[in-house]
């Protein structure tokens, strides 16, 4: 048999129907639902008298606009209505929901893996573009719109054309102290915001193999920022070990058989991709974005570029617009940029290892004067665990705010936002204009770099922190 990529294997196993001249009908194993993109889909079902085909393959949570401070009183009436609507819909159609009072509540892309819902070889969809996060387990996971949410609810399938495959290989070993966030920001900065268009990216190479599951999730999460339809990593023993014992994973002897099946999805030796990119792990430095798209990033040791640095007139124009919005002057050292806010959270970087890394930096230090720093765990489970380890105390002692879980300042649909004209070091995934609030200026970084920015008030290579703080 010809060697195959993981994407081809998953596709072949899930194509319900393949006919000439139209897209394939793809079976969906898992559908994650949240409060913002689902209400009209459920309403559509009701209006046409349809049912949810597989409530057992559907799982709902509330995350986008939940408050992260006091969860008992919700001041935003529209948010409240969206949450109540989701609860009522889940009740009506028999779907399990991790509502705001559930111990399982959290960001949709954090709780899927946490509960063991996310597994290798699965097709997974959700009405949120960062669904690619689940690809870390070797699942084919992508975001969909409201009509498609309704379509999956009713039919457990979607019409999709077979994607192109792309390998992104991170070759060699990372320098010490480089995180998964630095890897993905470096990849996007190097190859651009649309190099993945039309493709599913598979991340390979020694540096990727060496990552934990949580780090792999950070990488796959931002595939969409490279324009890709999805991103994934072939499963290996690290994947299997992570999943063992989780709620939705089989127990006992069945587990071995299950694990073997999972591993069989990994890309075969010698399989060919439609496109390939390579980056040398050694060249990756701690990254900071300076602009308004995630590809506009540089090493913390570099300076803000000038429009003339653009390779094309369009790129030059984009740089100019970004600099204006971000109020930055070309040639400014990244380490001279001062910030007023720090956000550690989002489905990119809010898992326990992210919090540990940030806490290690915060430990024994204090948030700089004039800086407001906030830590928002990705799920209630992560929050409990962090509190057990005493991380909340470390953060609070250093002057960080310690919050309940949710999307929070990743998209600022809830009361958390950055005021106009102010600057934020953020561990989230999008630095678009207005993303963290009208006129807010976002710089994307890793959790350790965000914590370092919090205690110094400006960007600094976290590896030089001791020198910087004395």
């Amino acid at each position: 048999m010809a060697p195959k990529t993981i994407v081809e294997k998953i596709w072949d196993r899930h194509a319900v129907l393949e006919e000439e001249g139209k897209p394939d009908l793809l079976y969906i194993d898992l559908h994650m639902v949240h409060e913002v993109t689902s209400p009209q889909a459920f309403e559509g079902l009701r209006l046409s008298g349809r049912n949810v085909r597989r409530p057992d393959r559907t799982f709902a949570t509330m995350d986008h606009n939940v408050p992260t401070q006091d969860r008992t009183s919700i001041s935003d009436m529209i948010a409240k209505k969206q949450m109540e609507t989701l609860s009522a819909n889940c009740e009506e159609f028999g779907i399990e929901v991790a509502d705001i009072d559930s111990p399982n509540n959290g960001i949709v892309h954090v709780i899927g893996p946490e509960l063991g819902l996310t597994q290798p070889g699965k097709t997974i969809v959700c009405g949120d573009s960062h669904t690619s996060t689940h690809g870390a387990f070797g699942a084919l996971a992508f975001g969909i719109g409201t009509s498609e949410v309704e379509h999956v609810l009713a039919t457990q399938s979607l019409w999709q054309s077979r994607p192109q495959t792309m390998e992104v290989r991170v070759e060699g070993r990372l320098q010490d102290g480089i995180t998964a966030k630095d890897i993905i920001l470096a990849i996007i900065s190097k190859f651009g915001v649309d190099f993945g268009t039309g493709h599913v990216i598979e991340y390979t190479g020694e540096a990727i193999r060496g990552l934990t599951m949580e780090e792999r999730m950070t990488i796959c999460n931002m595939s969409i920022e490279a324009g890709a339809r999805a991103g994934l990593i072939s499963p290996d023993q690290v994947t299997v070990d992570y999943l063992k014992g989780r709620r939705f994973v089989e127990e006992g002897g069945d587990f071995e058989a299950q694990a073997e099946q999972w591993l069989s999805y990994a890309t075969d030796e010698g399989a060919e991709y439609d496109a390939a990119y390579v980056i040398d792990a050694q060249e990756i430095e701690p990254m900071v974005t300076w602009g308004t798209n995630p590809a506009q990033g540089v090493s913390v040791h570099e300076t803000v570029p000038a429009p003339e640095d653009g390779n094309t007139p369009a790129e030059a124009k984009a740089i100019k617009q970004s600099l204006e919005y971000m109020d930055l002057t070309p040639g400014t050292k990244m380490t001279d940029i001062e910030i007023e806010h720090v956000f550690i959270g989002s489905c990119t970087n809010s898992r326990i290892s992210d919090l540990r890394e940030a806490a290690a930096v915060a430990n024994g230090r204090t948030v700089a004067t004039g800086v407001r720093a906030m830590v928002v765990p990705g799920s209630q489970e992560i929050k409990r665990r962090a509190e057990k380890e005493g991380l909340d105390e470390v953060f609070k002692n250093a002057g960080f705010e310690w919050r309940e879980s949710g999307c929070s300042m990743c998209l600022s649909m809830n009361p958390d936002f950055v005021p106009e004209g102010e600057r934020c070091a953020s561990t989230s995934n999008r630095n678009f204009e207005g993303r963290q609030g009208k006129g807010a200026r976002t710089h994307l970084v890793s959790p350790a770099m965000a914590a370092a920015a919090a205690v110094t008030g400006s960007f600094v290579d976290v590896r030089d922190l001791d020198k910087a703080t004395v």
């Binding site: 209400p39 009209q40 309403e43 046409s48 529209i78 009509s147 309704e150 039919t155 019409w159």
Partner: protein, 195 residues
């Protein structure tokens, strides 16, 4: 969804290019949990004055556009954000057919998912229809079965449309309806993989 086979109705003329989805339905109205009821906000910033009264200068507020179900617009209608609230709002307001020289891709596809027929006609024909309809009630008959548009004064033209999409509207099938015709395949698949 209501099938569209032959539709006869008055036209509303919106002689503007690049009408984007944020103009069709401004973003302050997106937070509803229903998909109905968006019609009252259609073209909100154009339709109403700052004090909430009707803007008498707006094209669709003219007596000639009263009860219009066919919208005539210029190039690149429906560009901008992919929000599905735009076709929801047009449908809820009463539009069943939109005729323009060109449409934005995602919007064009979203129309079929929501029971609206978008028709591309050559620029000169669209402009002629706009001329006919701008000052008085002007009815068109859109025959989807035969892919023809005509008026009561001898005008007649034909239009192109993808068979699959045409069929969807003729039968009043939404995409889910079409997929459900393959339900046996989905059942068989689930059985086979023991899902």
């Amino acid at each position: 969804m209501e099938p569209i086979v032959v539709h006869k109705g008055n036209v509303g003329v919106l002689n503007r290019v690049n009408v984007d989805t944020d103009q069709i339905i401004p973003k302050q109205f997106l937070k509803r949990v229903e998909r109905t009821g968006f019609g009252q906000f259609l073209f909100y910033d154009w339709r109403f004055n700052a004090d909430g009264s009707d803007n008498e200068d707006f094209e669709l507020n003219q007596p000639s556009a009263e009860g219009a179900t066919i919208l005539l617009a210029d190039h690149n209608f429906g560009c901008g954000s992919s929000r599905e609230h735009a076709p929801w709002a047009l449908d809820d307001y009463g539009f069943k057919v939109i005729i323009a020289p060109s449409f934005a891709d995602i919007f064009y596809n979203n129309c079929f998912k929501n029971g609206i027929l978008p028709i591309r006609l050559p620029e000169d024909e669209v402009y002629q229809l706009m001329e006919n309809g701008k000052d008085e009630v002007y009815e068109l008959t859109v025959d989807l079965e035969n892919q023809k548009i005509s008026d009561d004064h001898g005008f007649e033209t034909t239009f192109e449309i993808n068979d699959y999409l045409r069929n969807m509207l003729l039968k009043g099938l939404d995409e889910i309806g079409i997929t459900l015709e393959y339900e046996a395949h989905i059942d068989a698949y689930e059985k086979q993989v023991n899902a």
